[in-house]
Every structure is written in structure tokens, then in C-alpha cells.
Subunit: 205 residues, 2 copies
Amino acid sequence: MWTLSTSTGSGYHHGDLRAALLDSALALLNSEGPGELSLRAVARHAGVSPNAPYRHYRDKEALLAALATRGFTELGERLAAVAPGEEPGAEVISMACAAVDYALDHPGVYRLMFGQACSGHPDTIAASDAAIAIVAERIAAVAEPERREPLRVGIWALVHGLSTLLLDERLGTPTRAEADALVETVLRTMLGAGPERPDGGSAAR
Amino acid sequence: MWTLSTSTGSGYHHGDLRAALLDSALALLNSEGPGELSLRAVARHAGVSPNAPYRHYRDKEALLAALATRGFTELGERLAAVAPGEEPGAEVISMACAAVDYALDHPGVYRLMFGQACSGHPDTIAASDAAIAIVAERIAAVAEPERREPLRVGIWALVHGLSTLLLDERLGTPTRAEADALVETVLRTMLGAGPERPDGGSAAR
DNA sequence: CATCGATGTGTACGATGTCCACATTGAAGG
DNA sequence: CCTTCAATGTGGACATCGTACACATCGATG
């Protein structure tokens, strides 16, 4: 039985290269964008030869897809972790903020998740659908049936668009709190709730 | 004075390589995604040596950025071309459909426009801002002042998110009319207007 | 017609993705 | 305990890519 953690082994064999490669790729992704990431660099970072990854992933694309899949899973966990709020719409806003926060925390992986490199990979799509399903579930609880599907698509698209704009710094360079406030303001304004804000915090930037 | 159109010249010199390279890149982009696009392939398609592009663009990235800039300009023209509708919100919906249609018409360029490769290029950003400004103008005409900024950001993000989801075929493979109808439904549902659909046929376009 | 700046060509180098044959290992079976 | 084997990692090789350098070729201008 191998060691169950990463980066242990007797020199030649690595222990759990499959997972270690994902971690190395993650580390390199957050320091430079995807597309710049080379499979050889991942292998170097993991301390193995350039061809070692091919024993665990068919392609460079397969490695990236696996990383994106893990990203969607983690995103889903964050979404599932938002406590059911007292106000009906508050949950949705909290989930939107959670998604945007995830994008800001892991810019590289987020871009990978929605890039065309791994879009089309069955595992990645499944993980993505699972994450959406969590949001859809909460939406279904507060919206009449014929509005559910458009709301699901619209909120998903809106949150993804906001994340992209924020990652590209097209909305300035807000702090985490400012970004969350912006997300809340945009969502409240778009959905009928109007600009009413119970607390007196900073609105949008 | 050189010939003012593309692909004319006496063999050695090309005529207007700068524009011809953009056209070649566009042609190759629509047959394969960006990232697969190689500068050498663009040069080959234009019938010049691999180094010829460097006389007109500093980088591969510069070429891509120029293409993305042209994309934003064309998108802006489409947005500006939507006739002012009789109903206040109809313009915004038509512009959203126009943007999504542009994405569906030029998938490669659209992904380029919002990819991180050219994000950060001043010209591209300027063209992007110009396109947004057109939308913002129309929004300002129908929304009270404090709602304008969130609406501008939200609609831009929503439309971009919808385009991305459609391009990645995450919303099925609708026809153009179906996609437009979907955009209209999502927008009407998100914004307060509700699911009211005056006619019974396909809505938008 | 000579010259010159603009434009395109050729060669070259390092890096990359991936294929192949080979080396090394831990573990199963005698 | 030793052999054997499948899993795993290494090394070399090849085509391709982005790009730098030196050289060739052209149109316009004197």
C-alpha cells in the first residue's frame, strides 16, 4: 500500500503522482494563467520527468480537465455550504457571492473551468452540472415553476459574467468585501428587489 | 501608394499584409479554437514566411489583440444598429440578442475577445469600453440614475455569460431563433418584466 | 539610375506535446 | 527467499511552435 499523501516515495516511484500533478498544476496555474501552463513545467514542479504524467493522464488536456473537475466540485461544496437564510432571496445572493469569491480565490482554475480546453470533457461537465443543480434546488424553492428555468440560466450566466469581469479587472480592483457588495447590488437591482439595502454598508464601489 | 485591398502585390511584397493576416487569423479561428491557432499557420494561410507577421505585429499576442479589437468594434456596430424600439425595454433586449448573435456568428473571435490572452491590451480594452458605452447610453435613457450602473454591469455580465454558455453548448444546441427567444425570456424574467410574452411565436429577432 | 527604408525570407535556437523503447520498483506466487 | 510481472518513471527523439538575427528584395525618392 502506498503512502496516502502526496510527495512521498523512495525516489524512483513517487507515491501518488496523480494527485501531486494536480497540486503542481494548481500551484503553477495561480502564478500564471492557463495556456502558459506547460505539462513539462508541471512535471518539473512535481520533480518527475516530462513523460511521467502520461502514465496518469492521457493528455495535457486530460490533466487540465481533471483540475477543472476538481474546481467544480470545490465550487459545489462552497455553494452547498451557504446556510439557508431567513429571507427567501438571501440564499441566492449568498451563493452568488460564494461563486464570485471562489473565482477570485482561484483565478487560474476558474478560467480553466470555463475555458474551451476542458469544456467538452464528460467528467468536467458532470461536475459542472452538479454545481448548478445545487443552485437550481434553492431557486426552485422560492420561484414559481415557469420562472425557475430562466432564473437558473440567468443567474448562472450573470454570476459567471460578473466573475469574468472581476477577474479581468474590468470593474476596478475591489476588495473581497467590495466585490461581494457589488454582486449583491447588481443581483438586487437586476431581480426586482430594487436597491433596498437593510444595512447601511457601502453599495457598489 | 499600395493597393488598398488585400492580397495584391508583385510576389515578394504582399500589398496589405497587416489586414490580410487578420483575415487569415479570423478564418483559422473559426475552424479551430484559439490556443490551437499558431502564428505560423496564419502566415502560411496568408502565403508568407513564418517571420513576415513580425513586421506588422510585435507578438502573436499583438495579432490576437488586434483581432479582438476588431471584434469589439464590429460588435459595437451591431449594437449601435439596433433601431430604437417603441417599448422602453425592447431596445435592451434587442441589443442583448445582437450581442449573443455576434458570439454565435464568430465563436473563435468572441472567445478571443474575452480570453485572458488579449485582456490587458489597451486598444482592446478601449474598443470593449466603447461597445459597453453604447449599451450604457440606452440603459441610461430608461432607468433611474442610481440603477444605471448596476444595470449596466449586470446586463453586460448576463449577456456575456449567456453567450459563453451557448458557445459551449451548455444550453443545448438551439437554432438562432431559439437562442434569441431564450435570451429574451431570461432577460424578461431576470428584470422585473415577468414572463409575459405578447405574441405566441418565437419572440426576439 | 543610385540609394534607402520598408517589407519579406532563411536559418537557428530553445521550449513544448507526445511517441517509443528501456529502467526500476513493489508485490504476488512458487 | 527468490522469481516474475504489471505498474510506474526515465531518456531520447521528432515535429511544431514562438521568436531573434542576418540577409534579400522591392517601391519610391533623389
